[in-house]
C-alpha cells in the first residue's frame, strides 16, 4: 500500500518539477499533471478499496516521526479515503476537461491547480488545526488563481471578491485557531477531542470563530455573494471544481471539527444549512445565468448537507449513507452540469436549447438534473427518502417541511432550465464544439451516476425489494435508441405483452383491484403504443420515457410497501414528464406538470414519513387509523394523489400537459397515467378509512373538492376550442367524480369510483386516440377549423361517438353503470347536495361531448379537408379494441363489478349490490345491463327499419344544399357554426369558472419571484459589501448563539 503522504510528495514534486519545463511542450506537462492526479486518485482508491473490502484499520501518518500532538499527523480512514478519492478524481477529470486551458496558460496554471488539489487533500487528511489553516490557504490562493484562468473583467473582479472574502475569513479563522491553541494548549484535533481541552469559557469564542469561518467557507446564504460571482465569472471547469471539490472537502473538515465543539453546534449547523438551502434555492428561481444558477444550486445542496450534518446524531448510523448519497449526487451532478456549461458555452439558460443539436447531451443534462432533484433511481433519491424517514421518526416535522420546501424550489428552477434546454428555440444558436477532452469527463460523470445508483440502492433497508429489472430494459432501449421506431415499438409491445402475461394472471382471483389496475396500465400501454407504428424515423427518446412511465405505473401496482410505492411514483413522474415535454409547445405545461408532481410527491413523502415514524416496517400497514397524526397523514398523502388526479386546485397543469403532448402520448398520460392517483387513493383509503382534523372531516372535504372539480372541469371543457384541451378538461371532471366516489367511503361510492376509473380509461383512451388520429391528419387542434369529417373519417367518428356515449353515461353503454351507481351511492351515503351537483356536472358533460363530435365530424366539411384520408389504421386498431371492450363491459358488467363488490365487502361489509345474472339490485333500485342493451338494440333496429321504409326514396344532397334563408352559403368556414359554440353558457354561468385558482397560483408564483428578486438584490456585486455580509453573518450568529453580546 502506498503511503498517503505520497499524495503530497507527488503533487508537490510534480508541481516543482514542472518549473523546469516552463518552455517545454505543454502536452507533455499537462500529461504529467494528469498523471499526478491519476496517481493521487490511485492512492486514495487503493486505500478506499482496502477499507471497504478488507476492514483495514485507519492509517495514521506521523510527520517528522514524532507522535501527535507534538507533530502534525494525518489520518487516512475510510471517509478520508472516499473524500480524497472524490477530490482527486474530480481533479483528474477537471484537468482533462480544461486541458485546452492548461495548454494555453502553461505550467504556472498547472502548478496552481496541483496546489489546489493538494490543499484540499491535506485539509481532509490532516488532524492538525493549524495545518488545516495552512492548506486551506493553499487551496484558497490556488482557487483565486484558478478563477482567472479566463482573463476578463468579470473573472478578475470575481476573483478579487473571492480573495477579499477568503482573506477576511482567514483572518478570523487564524484568530480562532490561535486562541484555541491558547486555551487548549494543543493544535491536534484528536488531542482536543479525547482530552476535552476546549472546555474553558474563552475557548467557546475561539471555537465559534473557527467553526463560523469554516461554515462561511461553505458559502452559506446570504453571506455568499462572492461565491456566486465566482461561479458565474470563472470558467465552468473551475465552477465544477469549486462546487464539487472545495465544498466537499470543507464539508468534511466541518464534520471533523464538530467533534470537539459543544454539541449545540450541530443545531447551529443545521439552522445555517436550512437557511442556506431554502434561501439560495429561492433566489435561484429568478436566475437566468446558467453558471450562477448552478452556483445557487450548489449553495443549496451544501445547505442540505449541512442540515444532514447537523442531524448526524439523530440520523445515527444512517447519517453516513444519507450524507454520502446527497453528497455524491451533488458532486457528480454539479460537476457534470458545470462541464456541460463549458461545452454548450451559453450563459443564458434559455440558450441551452443549443443542446438539442446533440440530443445525447440533453440526456446527460437530464441525468444530472434528475440526480440533483432527487429522483429515482439516483442516489440522492434514496438518501432523501431515508433522511425524511429518519427525521420524521425523530419527530422533526418542521425540518422535514423545510427540506421538502427547499427541494421543491430547487426543482422549480432546475426543471425550468431543463424545459428550456429540451424545447427552446435552437435554430439561431450556434453549434457547440465537442472536443474529446470535454466529452470524456461528462460521460464518465454520467456513467458514475448510474454506477453509484446501482451500488447505492442496496444499502438501504427495503432497497433490495425495489424492482430494477424494468430499468435495465429501459437502459437497453436507450442503447438501441438509434433503431427505427417500428422495430423498437415491436420490441416494446412484445416485452410489455410478456410482462402482462407474467403479472396479470397472478392477480386473477386474488386481488381484483390490482388485476384491474395492472390491466389498465399494461394493456393500456400496449394499446397506446400501437399508434407508434405510424412514426417514421427512430423517434429518439420516446421509448425510454414511455417505458419509465409504464414501469412506474406497474411498479405502483406491484408495490407492497410505501418505499416501493414512492419509488415507482417518482419513476412514473419522470417518465410522464419526459413524455409530456415531447409535445411541440408543451414546455411550460410539462414544467407545471412536473412542479405539481414534485410538490405532490413531497406532500406524499411527508405523509409517508409521518406514518413511518415509530414503526419499523415499511409496509402499507403502517398507514392506519389510530397512529398519531393519522388524519394529517391522510391529508398529506391525499394531496399527493390529488395532484395526479388533477383535482381542483391542483388541476392547472393538466389541460396544457395533455393538450399539447403528442397524439399518442395524450392517451397514455390522460387515460392511463391519471389512474395512478386513483390507485393511490384506493391504497390510502383502504388503510385509513377516516380522517378528521378538528371539525373537518377530510373525506367530506375531498368529496366537495371532487364535486367542484367535476363541475369546473366540465364547464371548462365545454368552453374549449382546442379538441385536446377539451378532452383534457374532461379528465379533470371525470376525476372529480372518481374523487367524490372515493371520498364517499361507502361500498357503492367506491364501486362507482372504480367503475368510473375503468370507464374513464376506456373512453378517454378512445377519445384521445381518435382525436389524435384526426389531428394528425388535419394538423390543427382547433375544432372550428375541422368539421364535416364524418364523411372522410367514418371509423374515427364511430369511435368518438361510442366514446362520448360512454362518457355521457347514456344507456346502454357502460357509462350509465357509473351514473346509476352514483345515484344509489349518494342517496345511501346521504350526500344529497353534493350528489345533485355532481349529477349536474354529469349533464354538463353532455355539452362538450356534443361539441367534440359536432365540431369535428359534423357540420361543414372544410375545403382543405376535401381529400383528407381516414385516420391512420394504427390509430384505428386500438380504438376498435377499446370499443369491443366497452361493448363487452356494457353488456356484461357483472363479471367485473361483482368481484369488485366482493373485494369491497372486506372494507365495507354491507354488500349493497346484489347481482343476479346481469341484474344488479341495490336497496334503492335495479339495473339490468344486458337487458337494456338488448332492448335498446332491438328498438333501434325496428325504428331504423321503419325510417328506411318511410324514406325509401330519400335523396342525398350536397354540402351546401341547405336552406339558408333563400341564399346560399359561400364558404364552409363561415357556415360551420363551431367557434364559441357555448357563448351563452359562458354568459350564464361563466362566473363559476373564473380562473381564480389559476390566478392564485400565478399570484403565489409572482410573489415568490418578487421575493426572490428583491432578496437577491443583496448581492449587489460589491466585493466590500460581500465582506460586510460575512462579518454581519458572523456577528448575528454570535449574538444568537451567545444570546447577546456578552
Amino acid at each position: 500500500m502506498v503511503n498517503p503522504i505520497h499524495i503530497v510528495s507527488i503533487s508537490l514534486g510534480v508541481a516543482f518539477f514542472l518549473g523546469f519545463l516552463r518552455k517545454a511542450n505543454h502536452n507533455l506537462t499537462s500529461t504529467i499533471m494528469l498523471l499526478a492526479f491519476a496517481a493521487n486518485a490511485f492512492i486514495s482508491a487503493q486505500w478506499l478499496w482496502a477499507f471497504i473490502y478488507s476492514n483495514t484499520e485507519p492509517f495514521y501518518i506521523f510527520t517528522a516521526g514524532f507522535r501527535p500532538p507534538y507533530s502534525i499527523s494525518l489520518l487516512m480512514g475510510r471517509n478520508e479515503a472516499i473524500f480524497t478519492f472524490l477530490i482527486n478524481i474530480a481533479g483528474l477529470l477537471s484537468g482533462i476537461f480544461m486541458l485546452k486551458t492548461y495548454l494555453r496558460h502553461g505550467v504556472y496554471a498547472m502548478m496552481a491547480f496541483l496546489g489546489l488539489i493538494l490543499g484540499l487533500n491535506i485539509i481532509i487528511l490532516t488532524r492538525d488545526l493549524f495545518n488545516f489553516f495552512v492548506f486551506m490557504e493553499v487551496s484558497s490562493i490556488a482557487t483565486a488563481g484558478m478563477i482567472i484562468l479566463i482573463k476578463n473583467v468579470k473573472s478578475v473582479s470575481a476573483g478579487f471578491k473571492y480573495i477579499v472574502a477568503s482573506s477576511l475569513i482567514s483572518i478570523l479563522l487564524l484568530l480562532g485557531i490561535v486562541f484555541i491553541y491558547y486555551f487548549g494548549g494543543s493544535l491536534n484535533i484528536d488531542d482536543m477531542i479525547t482530552n476535552h481541552l476546549l472546555v474553558s469559557k474563552g475557548a467557546e469564542v475561539a471555537v465559534f470563530l473557527v467553526l463560523m469561518s469554516i461554515l462561511l467557507e461553505l458559502k452559506p446564504f446570504p453571506a455568499n455573494g462572492w461565491a456566486l460571482d465566482v461561479y458565474e465569472g470563472s470558467l465552468p471547469g473551475i465552477g465544477a471544481l469549486l462546487s464539487a471539490t472545495s465544498a466537499t472537502a470543507v464539508y468534511f473538515v466541518l464534520n471533523k471539527l464538530l467533534a470537539f465543539a459543544n454539541p449545540y453546534w450541530y443545531n447551529v449547523v443545521a439552522v445555517v444549512g436550512m437557511i442556506s438551502f431554502i434561501g439560495s434555492n429561492l433566489l435561484g428561481i429568478k436566475q437566468k445565468n446558467a453558471q450562477r444558477l448552478l452556483g445557487y444550486s450548489s449553495v443549496g445542496q451544501i445547505g442540505l448537507l449541512l442540515v444532514i450534518l447537523g442531524f448526524s446524531n439523530t440520523l445515527g448510523e444512517k447519517f453516513e449513507y444519507i450524507a454520502f448519497g446527497v453528497l455524491i449526487s451533488h458532486y457528480l451532478a454539479k460537476s457534470g452540469l458545470f462541464w456541460l456549461a463549458g461545452i454548450v458555452k451559453q450563459d443564458n439558460i434559455k440558450n441551452w436549447a443549443a443542446l438539442q443539436k446533440k440530443p445525447i447531451f440533453l440526456f446527460f443534462m437530464g441525468v444530472f438534473l434528475f440526480t440533483l432533484a432527487g429522483f429515482p433511481p439516483f442516489p440522492s433519491f434514496f438518501a432523501k427518502w431515508q433522511l425524511i424517514m429518519e427525521l420524521s421518526t425523530a419527530g422533526m416535522y418542521a425540518w422535514v417541511i423545510g427540506i421538502l420546501f427547499g427541494s421543491f424550489l430547487e426543482a422549480v428552477y432546475l426543471f425550468r432550465w431543463f424545459g428550456y434546454a429540451m424545447k427552446g428555440e435552437h435554430n439561431d444558436l450556434p453549434m457547440f464544439e465537442l472536443p474529446w477532452h470535454k466529452i470524456l469527463p461528462v460521460v464518465i460523470g454520467v456513467l458514475s451516476v448510474f454506477g453509484i445508483s446501482y451500488i447505492s440502492k442496496d444499502w438501504l433497508p427495503g432497497g433490495t425489494s425495489l424492482n430494477f429489472i424494468p430499468l435495465y430494459f429501459i437502459a437497453f432501449m436507450y442503447l438501441i435508441d438509434f433503431a427505427p421506431a417500428k422495430v423498437k415499438n415491436t420490441i416494446v409491445i412484445l416485452v410489455i405483452t410478456y410482462y402482462s402475461w407474467l403479472v396479470i394472471p397472478n392477480y386473477y382471483n386474488t386481488d381484483i383491484i390490482r388485476l384491474i389496475f395492472s390491466s389498465i396500465f399494461l394493456i393500456g400501454a400496449i394499446l397506446t403504443l400501437i399508434p407508434g407504428y405510424l412514426k417514421k424515423g427512430s423517434r429518439k427518446g420516446f421509448y425510454p420515457a414511455a417505458l419509465l412511465m409504464f414501469s412506474g405505473l406497474i411498479g405502483l401496482v406491484e408495490s407492497t410497501n410505501i418505499y416501493q410505492f414512492f419509488f415507482s411514483w417518482e419513476l412514473m413522474t419522470i417518465g410522464s414528464y419526459l413524455l409530456i415535454i415531447r409535445g411541440k409547445y408543451s414546455m411550460p405545461h410539462a414544467f407545471k406538470y412536473l412542479l405539481f408532481s414534485v410538490g405532490g410527491a413531497y406532500f406524499m413523502l411527508m405523509g409517508f414519513g409521518m406514518a413511518h415514524a415509530g414503526q419499523a416496517s415499511l409496509s402499507f400497514d403502517i398507514l392506519r387509523t389510530g397512529v398519531p397524526y393519522s388524519s394529517i397523514i391522510f391529508l398529506l398523502i391525499a394531496i399527493g394523489f390529488m395532484t395526479k388526479l388533477a383535482s381542483l386546485g391542483f388541476h392547472i397543469w393538466l389541460p396544457g400537459a395533455y393538450g399539447e403532448s403528442e397524439a399518442d402520448v395524450a392517451p397514455m398520460v390522460s387515460s392511463i397515467l391519471i389512474n395512478a392517483g386513483v390507485f393511490g387513493f384506493i391504497i390510502l383509503m383502504t388503510h385509513i378509512p377516516d380522517a378528521n382534523i378538528g371539525y373537518f372531516n377530510i373525506p367530506y372535504m375531498l368529496g366537495w373538492i371532487g364535486v367542484i372539480s367535476a363541475l369546473v372541469g366540465n364547464i371548462m371543457a365545454s368552453l374549449q376550442e382546442d379538441a385536446r384541451k377539451l378532452v383534457a378538461y374532461s379528465s379533470i371532471g371525470v376525476m372529480g367524480y372518481v374523487l367524490f366516489g372515493m371520498a364517499m367511503m361507502s361500498h357503492l361510492g367506491w364501486l362507482t369510483a372504480i367503475t368510473y376509473t375503468i370507464n374513464h380509461f376506456l373512453f378517454k383512451g378512445l377519445l384521445f386516440l381518435a382525436i389524435g388520429g384526426v389531428i394528425l391528419r388535419t394538423k390543427t387542434f382547433n375544432m372550428y377549423e375541422m368539421g364535416g369529417l364524418i364523411k372522410k373519417m367514418p371509423w374515427s367518428f364511430i369511435a368518438v361517438l361510442i366514446g362520448i356515449i360512454t362518457l355521457a353515461g347514456i344507456p346502454p353503454l357502460s357509462g350509465y353503470a357509473g351514473k346509476w351507481l352514483f345515484y344509489n351511492a349518494i342517496v345511501l351515503k346521504g350526500w344529497y347536495i353534493q350528489g345533485a351537483f355532481i349529477m349536474f356536472a354529469g349533464i354538463i358533460a353532455f355539452l362538450y361531448c356534443f361539441r367534440l363530435i359536432y365540431a369535428i365530424f359534423l357540420g361543414q366539411l372544410k375545403d382543405e379537408h376535401r381529400n383528407i384520408k381516414e385516420a391512420s389504421v394504427w390509430f384505428i386498431i386500438p380504438q376498435y379494441i377499446i370499443i369491443i371492450t366497452i361493448m363487452l363491459f356494457s353488456a356484461f358488467p357483472q363479471y367485473v363489478l361483482n368481484p369488485i363488490g366482493n373485494w369491497l365487502s372486506q372494507y365495507f361489509p354491507n354488500n349493497a349490490l346484489v347481482w343476479n345474472g346481469s341484474l344488479a339490485t341495490s336497496s334503492l333500485g335495479y339495473w339490468n345491463a344486458f337487458n337494456i342493451m338488448m332492448i335498446v338494440m332491438g328498438m333501434f333496429v325496428v325504428l331504423l327499419l321503419f325510417l328506411l321504409l318511410v324514406n325509401r326514396g330519400s335523396k342525398k344532397v350536397g354540402q351546401f344544399d341547405i336552406v339558408y334563408a333563400a341564399e346560399r352559403p359561400e364558404r364552409p368556414e363561415t357556415t360551420h357554426m363551431a367557434y364559441n359554440l357555448y357563448a351563452h353558457y359562458n354568459k350564464a354561468i361563466g362566473f363559476l369558472i373564473t380562473p381564480w385558482i389559476t390566478k392564485s397560483w400565478d399570484n403565489i408564483s409572482e410573489w415568490v419571484n418578487t421575493i426572490a428578486n428583491h432578496t437577491r438584490k443583496i448581492y449587489n456585486g460589491n466585493g466590500q459589501a460581500y465582506a460586510l455580509h460575512i462579518l454581519i453573518y458572523i456577528v448575528i450568529a454570535y449574538l444568537i448563539i451567545n444570546g447577546g453580546l456578552f
Binding site: I810, W820, A836, M839, F850, W927, N928
Partner: protein
Amino acid sequence: MGVFTKIPYVLLGLFILINYGLLVTGIFRRISARIGKRIGMPVYQPWINLVKLYAKRSSVYHGIMFYLGPVFRLGGGVGIFLFMPLIFGSEYFSNFSFAGDLILIMYFMFFGMLGMALGAGEGGHPYSAIGISRGLAQFTAIELPLTFAIIAIAIQYQTLSLTEIVAAQQGGITHWVLFTNPFATAAGMLSFLGAMGASPFNVVRAPQEIPIGPPVEFNSGFLAVLRTNAALLHIVEAILWMNLFFGGATNWIELFIKSFCVYFFALFVGTVFPRFRVDQSIRWYLKVPLILGILAILYIKFI
C-alpha cells in the same frame, strides 16, 4: 310474463300513447288558440300533419347521421316509454321496466337528445348547431332541480324504482309527493317546464330567429318521425312527472287525466310567459328552482 309476450302489450301501449299524445297536442293547440281569442285548428290536425309529412313524396338527407338522427330521437322517446311503468299494478302495461329504474329513464332522455343533436349537426346548418347548443345548455340547468327532486324522492321512499315510488304514493291524494314534499314537486314541475320546451324556455326552437332550430333541415319523413316522437315524448314525460309527483295511475283513465293535467301546466305557463334567452333561463334555473330543490332535500331530511 316473458319478454316476448310483453311485446304486443308494449306495442299497444305505444299506439295508445302516440295517439293520446297527438290528441293532447291537438287539444292544446286548440286551447292556446282560445286563449288567443282564436278558434284554432281542428283537434285532429296533428294526425293530418303527420299523414301529410309521412306522405311527402320526396325527401332529402345530408348523410348517415342525418338519417339516423330521427331514429335516435324516436328511440329516445320510445326507450323512455319502454322503461316506464305506465299503469301501476298492471303487469301488462309495466313495459320493460324490469330492466332499469328511474335513473335509466332519466339518462335515456339523453339518447334522443344525442340523436337529434347528431342528426341536426350533420345537416350542416348553422342554425341547427345554434339550436342544439342552446338546447343542451338549457337542459343542463333544467336537470338540476329535477335531480334534487328525484334525490328527495329517493330519500323519502328509499327507492329509485319508479314502480315503488308510485306504490308508495298510493292510498289517497295526501300520499302524493305533491303533498308529502311540495318543494320537490315545485322544483320538479319547474324543470318540467323546461323539459317540455314550452315557452318561456323555447328559445331553442325559435321559429323565426333560427328557423325552428335543430330540425331546420329535417323534412318529409324525417320530420314526421320527429313529430311522432314529440307527441310520444311529451306525453311520456308527463307520465314520468305524474308518476313521480302525482301518485301515478292505476288505470288508463287516471293516466289520461293526470298526464293531461301535468301537460296542461306546462302549456298554461307557456302561454302566459314570454320567452327567456338561454343565459337568462339558465340563471333562472340556478336561482329559484335550485333553491327549491335544496329545500326539498332539507325538507325531507329534517322535517
